[in-house]
Symmetry: C2
Subunit: 229 residues, 2 copies
């Protein structure tokens, strides 16, 4: 995908950039479900087949869309403290994923070697190398932070999805859920207590709190390893 240069223009009616822009807009608004080649084409006033002039297939379009939004992640000021810099990078990464929830699905399924993805990796490596990590530990340390971002956002989105289904089927759902949840509570005492305590928290702020909590644990662990060398 990233190997082949874009065709030189001549009678072009379209650009890759426009196609990707429309794709991202649709994905943001309606998720993967709403995205089809025909839909993107229609939005651009063109036939579905025309897209295949610019893009090999739908998958390639997704790869482009993915790298486009990866470009939104802000690389922190290089002369910050490494912990602050890494935390800032992680938070910016998280915010981007929450703006474009469909990205998570792609991240696991697609190889991801676009320019923005690589630039982000370079930024992370630079911060951690400056902190004192090297060799395999350098890779592992960056992976640890990135994995946390991905996992935390995945959990946050799943939580949101659950709340959404609970809200949309108001009468029926809660009514029947009552019986199911009661049985759950009986067999799962810990869960029951946590559910009671968590029932009225704001998903957004609580997710953010948990994100920062785990990130801090992780950075503590990384800092400890640095001292031990």
């Amino acid at each position: 995908m990233w190997l082949r240069p874009e065709r030189p223009p001549r009678d072009r009616r379209l650009e890759r950039e426009q196609i990707v822009g429309v794709a991202v807009a649709i994905l943001d608004a309606e998720g993967h479900q709403g995205l089809s080649m025909r839909r993107v084409a229609a939005e651009l006033g063109v036939t579905a087949g025309a897209l295949y002039w610019y893009v090999a297939n739908k998958n390639e379009m997704l790869e482009l869309a993915l790298d486009a939004v990866l470009g939104e992640v802000q690389v922190p000021d290089p002369d910050m403290d490494w912990r602050q810099a890494l935390a800032a990078l992680a938070h910016s990464h998280r915010r981007m994923l929450l703006r474009h929830p469909w990205v998570l699905t792609d991240l696991t399924a697609q190889p991801n070697l676009g320019p923005n993805a690589l630039a982000l990796t370079e930024a992370g490596l630079t911060i951690l190398a400056g902190a004192g990590f090297a060799d395999a530990d350098l890779d592992a340390a960056l992976a640890a932070v990135n994995d946390h971002v991905i996992g935390a956002v995945a959990a946050e989105l799943a939580w949101r999805a659950t709340m959404r289904t609970a809200e949309t089927g108001p009468g029926e759902w809660l009514e029947q859920a009552e019986g199911y949840l009661r049985r759950i509570r009986e067999n799962h005492p810990m869960l029951a207590r946590r559910m009671a305590a968590t029932s009225d928290v704001d998903v957004h702020t609580e997710s953010e709190r948990r994100f920062a909590f785990a990130l801090d644990c992780l950075l503590d662990g990384l800092a400890a390893r640095l001292r031990r060398r």
Copy 2:
């Protein structure tokens, strides 16, 4: 989904269990791409429409499949040390996700309140409560570990996918990749060094090493918080 009991049998030719079994088998073998209602039905010697007697739609079938494989995660011996127990749970979780790579996609998109999912949460909470965590920190600690598992497996699968495309397009890919990668190396010195060092490692063992590394960092951080109380 989990609220409504299964219909009582009479002239049944099918069971939910069979449908889910076939679905999981297809997903394991061919991923989400290979799964269709028509395909599942054919495998069971039945028409696509028949499935809708047992299952409201494809999504519900996926919810069932997801919870089924969550049942494969082994809950550790309750009188283990909390760190060991949590690590064991995380490793078992990871192995399950690697056996069923399609699960990751579902985890982010679907609310996930099946019995096996809840039982796993209960197990994690029990371990961490035994260690001394309580209230919001208890939730955050469990989320931290779970998020790491999800994120790490996502990264591992993406890495594998990259290796696969590099291998399948042998002549053409590597040839054109050469130019792209050279440009990358010039602009991204850190990345260039890590790529050179990582080019001949085994993805599987290195992923496992990184997984254990980050998990250890995380558990160190959690243990430190426990001491501070």
